[in-house]
């Protein structure tokens, strides 16, 4: 396992098949600490399945999935993996709609997750300050007492990013964060993610090429469950195979 040293996320030879269809085929990816990685690729390339494998929703048939250089993720369930420090934002924004914006963050805040810890939890001044800080970052402070259901699509996306921040993860998996956002919101999101990536590792799955350009990170193009090309966005988008299979001529 020495190969996994000094990595935040280490996938080696991962394969998974659903009813004989290989959704992920011998996939190997490395994400280093405080590195941002953007993943692009056509529909059905296995991007979401890859996230499912990392977060414990799907078990790989073969291959190693290591977190922080030492923890084997294939043995753990979703809750254990989340508590290790892997946060996930879903493609479709999923916030808890019948809770207020504040309560959404309070639940996500990194605290003991046990039943009785939650039953007797009283927010400390520090917790309140942290939640307020996150609300300022995601610009939802003025709507903190509103039900999450009443937020706009873009605001829900931001609330979900806020929930990720509250979890204080070491690795963030962000699936299509700017879907349904205006151009200025998209720019703000790119800025926010770049800021986050200064202290944490971030993996972003996105279709929006201009957004990926704004991230300015290393890019991997997936297709048919394997890495098609890797490098800077310019290198990847100049790759003839990528043009053929994904970008189109």
């Amino acid at each position: 396992m020495s190969k996994a040293q000094d990595t935040m996320l280490y996938l080696d030879g991962v394969s998974v098949a659903f009813d004989g269809f290989k959704a992920i085929n011998n996939l190997s990816i490395i994400v280093r600490p405080t590195e941002m990685l953007a993943i692009i690729g056509p529909n059905g390339a296995g991007k979401t399945t890859m996230m499912d494998i990392i977060t414990g929703k799907t078990r790989p048939d073969t291959g190693d999935v290591m977190f922080d250089g030492r923890t084997d993720l294939t043995r753990l369930d979703e809750a254990a993996i989340a508590n290790l420090g892997i946060g996930r934002k879903f493609q479709k924004p999923t916030v808890f709609e019948s809770h207020t914006v504040w309560d959404n963050l309070e639940m996500a805040l990194r605290k003991p997750r046990g039943i009785f810890a939650a039953l007797f939890y009283t927010p400390s001044d520090d917790d309140i300050a942290q939640i307020t800080g996150i609300l300022e970052t995601v610009r939802l402070l003025h709507r903190k007492d509103e039900l999450a259901a009443n937020l706009s699509h873009g605001q829900k996306q931001w609330l979900e990013i806020g929930m990720l921040l509250a979890q204080d993860p070491k690795l963030l998996l962000v699936d299509e964060p700017v879907a349904g956002m205006t151009d200025s919101e998209t720019g703000e999101t790119a800025k926010l993610l770049r800021e986050i990536a200064q202290t944490r590792s971030v993996v972003v799955v996105e279709h929006d090429m201009s957004f990926v350009r704004e991230l300015g990170s290393r890019v991997i193009c997936l297709a048919e469950g394997a890495v098609l090309a890797e490098g800077s966005l310019d290198q990847v988008s100049a790759n003839p195979v990528v043009i053929e299979r994904y970008l189109g001529r």
Binding site: D77, E78, N83, G87, T94, F96, I115, F120, Y121
Partner: protein
């Protein structure tokens, strides 16, 4: 820590409900014992027992609301926990009969003598102690719920599959308790009770005391439920109800959250059953009838699930209706119940309490002229989801 949790539990609504039931626990017995019959304000004893029965039903509906309304677990087998608590109480009451039974056996209940049993089965030992029986009222339903829930929730059985399993559980228990070999009185169940804690069960004072105990138990249950749903755990329960897998991905163990709610709820149902049995004077396998558990779901739905108060109102209202209906048109009660359920599902998804909130909110909103700071509120008024949040929001 605990005091803070208690303070949080006592929101305005909970204080009212608890206050009302504590007042009922004092005033109704006074109206029965101190005001002589025939005079204005007297509550006849049969009425006290009838309402005592309704209050134990209300407690059962409240227990169901904790798992269904807040955690999204539609249990169609809650009557089983109620009946198990009832049987534990019934076993204590049977042992209290002593040699006053028809056959005069000092140890064996009549039905065992009748079946030619020579000695008490091991699982009847200890039930002559009140404290032991009361411990079993809590332990038996709680343990069954814990074991059942542990396997069901760990295997991620949800939705309609879980409902069917709970229904099968109560049906299996029904069949088991019908058997004479089980040693619980078979078809006839346990009845002909004499004393509870040395006081005759049929006496007016005992019946009034049982009523008061039920009202206090209901008030305490509201306190416990309110403490749970107002805590962060309560918020997590709602999160599990609305988006189970999302809750997992922020690191909560959904199966434990469900297991906690299910077990607490089963214990509450068991206590309700234990209070029910001495007031009606009998417990038999009919209490495990799958239809009974479904009726509990209807009470909760009619009153308004996910509100704590609603199911209490629903249980009392539907049972009042049932008492009247079964004397006026006995054949049509089940049709009326079915029609009521369909009506509530279609037109009152939040039950009586939801309707009341809706009327209240509309009345509060209409007189206020729309000002710029309120425009957001007015807009939101069109959204039915906003009715679920009765608190006024600060101006933006």
């Amino acid at each position: 820590m605990l005091t803070q949790a208690l303070l949080r539990a006592l929101d305005k609504k909970a204080v009212w409900v608890i206050g009302i039931f504590l007042a009922v626990a004092i005033l109704v017995p006074m109206a029965n014992l101190l005001i002589p019959p025939g005079q204005f304000g007297h509550v006849p004893t049969y009425m006290v027992s009838l309402f005592g029965k309704y209050l134990s039903y209300a407690m059962l509906a409240l227990a169901l609301d904790l798992v269904w309304g807040y955690c999204g677990i539609l249990s169609l087998g809650h009557g089983a926990f109620f009946a198990l608590g009832g049987y534990a109480m019934g076993m204590y009451l049977m042992r209290q009969i002593g040699s006053r039974g028809v056959y005069g056996n000092p140890v064996l209940p009549d039905f065992m003598v009748f079946l030619n049993w020579k000695e008490l089965p091991w699982y009847w030992l200890g039930f002559d102690n009140f404290w032991f029986a009361m411990a079993m009222v809590v332990v038996v339903p709680g343990l069954l719920a814990f074991v059942f829930g542990f396997f069901a929730f760990r295997s991620r059985v949800t939705g309609v599959y879980l409902s069917i399993m709970t229904q099968a559980m109560t049906f299996a228990l029904l069949l088991a308790f019908f058997r004479n070999d089980m040693g619980f009185g078979g078809n006839n169940g346990l009845t002909d009770f004499k004393d509870i804690l040395g006081a005759p069960v049929q006496a007016q004072t005992t019946r009034v005391a049982l009523f008061a105990a039920t009202a206090v138990a209901l008030a305490l249950s509201v306190l416990v439920c309110s403490m749970i749903v107002n805590s962060k755990l309560g918020k997590v329960m709602i999160a599990v109800r609305d988006a189970e897998s999302r809750t997992r991905f922020i690191g909560y163990r959904v199966e434990y959250v469900k297991l906690f709610a299910f077990t607490v709820s089963a214990i509450m149902a068991g206590i309700a059953g234990a209070l029910y049995v001495p007031q009606v004077g009998i417990i038999n396998p009919g209490e495990f009838e799958p239809g009974n558990s479904i009726e509990v779901v209807i009470w909760a739905a009619v009153g308004g699930r996910g509100t704590l108060v609603g199911p209490i109102i629903g249980a009392i209202a539907v049972n009042l209706g049932k008492s009247w209906f079964t004397t006026a048109f006995p054949e049509f009660w089940l049709f009326a119940l079915g029609a009521l359920f369909i009506f509530v599902t279609l037109f009152l998804p939040k039950g009586i309490v939801g309707l009341w909130q809706q009327i209240f909110e509309r009345r509060r909103k209409t007189p206020a002229p729309p000002s710029p700071s309120q425009s957001a509120d007015v807009e939101r008024g069109k959204d039915p989801a906003s009715f679920s949040n009765p608190q006024p929001r600060p101006a933006e």
